[in-house]
């Protein structure tokens, strides 16, 4: 606030008070305007449609709309998985563990994945498919390399547990207190 012509200290004192009052009342005016806008009153007066109304979502009662392709908890459809191991290789944090072996003639080696998963040949028997959800960094690389699109990120984000071991999901025997994520 310096740089102007020198003014007396006395004058400066009152000027400071004036400036403070003016700027604070300006701020109060903006607060009031926003208050009216948020409560929908300003909408009729030609307010902005975008962002009119409160922004806060009262979370546990009201849930925000989450896009279907949003990257939250991982889920693997075992019936579509061909045990190709690509997701485990590309994962930067190594949170996917896959064990498999070649199928014997008795185990139907000509089996194919369902049409929804691209009808790819299933030559390997999946022995273990585990995802450590506590390690997952939600980068989405595994879902992109999957040839049958069986491993997907679901929009479900409410899966916190009291125990870290419970975040280890075994998709061959999928047991969970949460319902299965919708895809």
């Amino acid at each position: 606030m310096s740089g102007q012509q020198p003014i007396s200290e006395f004058k400066q004192y009152f000027q400071n008070i004036r400036e403070a009052v003016v700027s604070v009342s300006k701020g109060m005016g903006i607060t009031m305007r926003t208050f009216l806008k948020v409560n929908g009153l300003r909408k009729q007066l030609g307010g902005y449609e975008y962002g009119a109304g409160p922004v806060t979502v009262s979370y546990p009662e009201v849930k925000d709309n989450i896009p279907l392709h949003s990257r939250n908890r991982l889920f693997n459809h075992v019936e579509g998985c061909i045990a190709c191991n690509q997701c485990a290789v590309i994962c930067p944090v190594e949170c996917i563990t896959i064990d498999s072996r070649k199928k014997t003639p008795e185990e139907n080696p000509d089996e194919r994945t369902p049409a929804a998963f691209g009808s790819k040949p299933k030559k390997l028997k999946l022995l273990r498919f585990e995802i450590d959800e506590a390690l997952c960094c939600f980068c989405g690389l595994c879902t992109e390399v999957c040839p049958t699109e069986s491993i997907v990120h679901t929009p479900e984000f409410e899966y916190s547990k009291y125990d870290r071991d419970k975040l280890m999901y075994n998709y061959l025997s999928f047991k969970d207190d949460n319902p299965l994520p919708k895809v």
Partner: protein, 378 residues
């Protein structure tokens, strides 16, 4: 009462070592500052880093190029798009890939949106540091819209992994283009309102104007970049000087500090440069969306790239010039990745600038430098 001098005793003062942080609301992350104070005057301040060190550079040596990308997001977690862009541009320079026009335009749009989001966070939390609570709520309200746009675009709200070597992950849909245009229309008056609310506020100006002066010579000597450099009156914007990703096609000003409220190089100017830069970012987004043409968003790049050679690429991030130096030895994994982070340099000028400052001003000074510890410690 008798003064100590009058009574013949010598008046002795003692320097106190004050520990600020790592868990301090105004240090923006986990920065610890050892402040030596004499009364209310700071004698010296030593920043203590490393609380958020996550071995990014070493991790990068043990991951394939594509796998390094999610870690780049986590460097500066409030401006993840810009961090990705820097790494991808460096890798593309190494591979000599031509990026499709549309992908370049989408990259400009998302990185400018991210710049707005990052600056909103910076000025919002800065107002809290100074003692104004309301402006932060306004800033976060508008930032929320950007995060929703990014969530719809990439699937994540904070760590996107959206910009990929060769282009972008998903194309900008027509609906989303309209949504971003609508956001720009909505945001301009909101930002004007924010500017009115905070920039001219008497209390805010008193706390920030003429505080924490960085002279242009000193800023250049330390190697500050981005808004911190431009706030000191040095006109250096990489988007202008060395255009990348098609920035040369857009008409915008690089914002420089002015002598109107405070002096060039003080906290107020650094703050206000951020606010004015957001207006420029809106301009860029609007131009990019007006000029955007349909087309490919991904060039043909192999999944596991094996480049050779070395490359250094600097981009203009919200916090300054972020540089990636990659040495590639022809294998799937980089031989060495070095990050030149702007925040680390901002912190290095701490000791010289804070000595002689009032203790209460150090909070205003830290806030105005706007660093993110994730990027400083890496």
């Amino acid at each position: 009462m008798e003064t100590p001098q009058a009574s013949g005793q010598e008046f002795r003062t003692q320097e106190i070592l004050l520990n600020m942080g790592p868990q301090h609301p105004s240090t923006h992350g986990v920065l610890r500052v050892e402040v030596v104070t004499d009364g209310e005057i700071i004698k010296a301040a030593y920043p203590d880093l490393g609380y958020l060190h996550r071995c990014f550079e070493k991790h990068a040596e043990n991951r394939e190029y594509l796998q390094v990308l999610p870690f780049c997001d986590r460097l500066d977690y409030v401006a993840a798009m810009n961090q990705e862009l820097g790494f991808c541009l460096a890798l593309e320079k190494l591979l000599e890939v031509q990026i499709p026009e549309r992908a370049q335009a989408v990259r400009v749009v998302v990185s400018e949106l991210q710049r707005i989001a990052s600056h909103l966070l910076a000025v919002g939390t800065y107002s809290i540091d100074i003692g104004g609570f309301t402006p932060m709520l306004y800033a976060f309200r508008d930032r929320e819209h950007i995060l929703s746009i990014f969530e719809e675009l990439s699937g994540a709200r904070l760590l996107y992994n959206y910009i990929r070597p060769g282009g972008v992950l998903r194309d900008l849909s027509r609906g989303l283009e309209d949504k971003i245009k609508e956001f720009c229309r909505y945001f301009k008056p909101q930002l004007q309102e924010f500017d009115e609310l905070l920039s001219g506020n008497k209390i805010f100006v008193e706390r920030t104007a003429n505080v924490g002066m960085i002279s242009p010579e000193m800023a250049i000597a330390y190697g500050l970049s981005g808004v911190n450099l431009r706030g000191s009156g040095v006109n250096w914007d990489l988007r202008k000087e060395r255009p990348y990703s098609g920035y040369e096609k857009y008409d915008f000003k690089s914002v420089v500090g002015a002598n109107d409220v405070g002096q060039v190089g003080d906290c107020w100017n650094r703050y206000h440069c951020r606010v004015r830069e957001m207006f420029e970012s809106i301009k860029i987004i609007e131009q990019a969306l007006a000029q955007i043409q349909p087309g490919d968003t991904m060039a043909k790049v192999a999944k596991a790239v094996k480049p050779t050679g070395e490359v250094y690429m600097e981009t203009e991030c919200p916090r300054g010039n972020l540089g990636y130096y990659i040495v590639a030895d022809g294998s799937k994994k980089p031989y060495r990745v070095k990050v030149k982070s702007p925040g680390f340099i901002s912190i290095s000028c701490f000791d010289e600038l804070t000595s002689g400052m009032m203790l209460a001003d150090i909070v205003a000074f830290i806030g105005s430098l706007d660093f993110v510890m994730g990027e400083v410690d890496r």
